[in-house]
């Protein structure tokens, strides 16, 4: 038929069928079964071509459609011309019933979805209510362990943020700076440039603690004979020099 089928995600065979019916602009109660069956199968083939896994439900529906199609081709049983009776024997009836039922919920789901999008509401966490009658406080949820876990979590989160920003915070003195790290930094700097003024190492330090840690790292490297500190004149600039 040469229809260009736009691949969409369908929730199931009924969803796909509804889509095809809507696209063909035909009455759901009088589906041109041959046409719709062809389109349905074309769709499955397209899925196959794209190596999409076709759920078994889709295949079962294809079989059902083919069965209905062939039953429609059979000569009609001779009835007394009673229209109602022949309508009852319509092989599409069961399928139509299912489609109509499914459509009802699909529409409802659509409505819920739009409510969901518009009903963005927020609540407030409960107040912590004081019970002043009690001189002694008891807490259900804090033990020493809780406190430590909370601390670990908060510090870890802080460190992650700190790494992300690459910015040194103000006023915080804790074990942010490790001698090992500073030793690595000094090694790196001396790799780029063999001789560096002593003072330059401290230029970017954010606080006293960091300065001390850098200094300790330097002493450590001197002890390990990885670097030399040279002062050419009294009170003159100290030059740090790498060994390698």
């Amino acid at each position: 038929m040469g229809i260009n089928i736009k691949l969409e995600i369908f929730e199931g065979p009924l969803d796909l069928l509804l889509h095809l019916i809507k696209k063909a602009e035909v009455d759901i109660y009088d589906i041109p079964i041959a046409e719709i069956t062809d389109q349905y199968i074309t769709y499955l083939r397209a899925m196959e071509d794209l190596d999409l896994e076709i759920a078994s439900e889709f295949l079962i529906m294809a079989a059902t459609l083919l069965e209905i199609k062939s039953r429609m081709l059979l000569p009609k049983a001779k009835t007394e011309g009673d229209k109602e009776a022949s309508a009852e024997e319509d092989p599409r009836e069961e399928l139509v019933r299912k489609l109509v039922e499914y459509k009802k919920y699909k529409e409802f789901a659509y409505q819920l979805k739009s409510i969901e999008e518009n009903n963005v509401i927020f609540f407030k966490s409960p107040d912590i209510i004081d019970d002043i009658d009690n001189s002694e406080v008891f807490f259900k949820n804090i033990t020493l362990e809780n406190l430590m876990v909370a601390f670990k979590k908060v510090i870890r989160a802080y460190e992650n943020r700190y790494n992300d920003r690459g910015k040194i915070p103000e006023n915080i003195d804790h074990d942010e700076f490790k001698i090992e790290d500073k030793m690595d930094e000094i090694r790196m700097l001396l790799k780029e440039k063999r001789r560096i003024s002593f003072n330059r190492f401290f230029e970017r330090a954010s606080n006293k603690i960091e300065i001390i840690v850098i200094f300790l790292a330097m002493l450590e490297l001197i002890k390990l004979k990885e670097i030399n500190a040279i002062q050419y004149e009294s009170f003159g600039d100290i030059i740090i020099e790498g060994q390698g």
Partner: protein, 188 residues
Amino acid sequence: MDNFLRELELLNDDDRFKGIIEALLFASGDPLSIKELSSILGIGEKQVRRIMDQMIEEYNKDTRGICVIEFNNKFQLSTKPEYGNYVKKLVKPDNKQNLSNAAIETLSIIAYKQPITKAEIDEIRGVRSDRAITTLLEKGLIREAGRKETTGRPILYCTTDEFLKYFGFKNLEELPELIEFNMEFEEE
């Protein structure tokens, strides 16, 4: 005190009770039932109901950013939906990832046909709904509601208070109307 006087006094107190109820709902954060409010305030449930109706009305004013939501005779304060986008700038909605199409389809069937088994849902949707059901259970929008007395005694599912809250429904009776209206609209 005779009845007439008592009634009069209570009426005058309504305003004060409104203040107290607002304080209670605010402090609680969680929903409070008519029963709880009635017992804390020391007034009848009917009076609580009347005051709540007035409060819900009064919160509708434009100057209010919060409102009283009601579901299953419980009340809770929440921000108004129309300001949701502003609040989002400030507070990350926890867990407020929108539901998948499969989940919302499944939910709409459960909402309307509850209590219902998985097999019955699968039959209506024409596909399996296991994943959708798990998601809905995790989100607290549905819950298990006993077992159907039939072969295999399958689990029955129904919606929760959280479901009502999530979609802003007062109670389940509102739903059929919604779906019926939807159908008529469709037919035209």
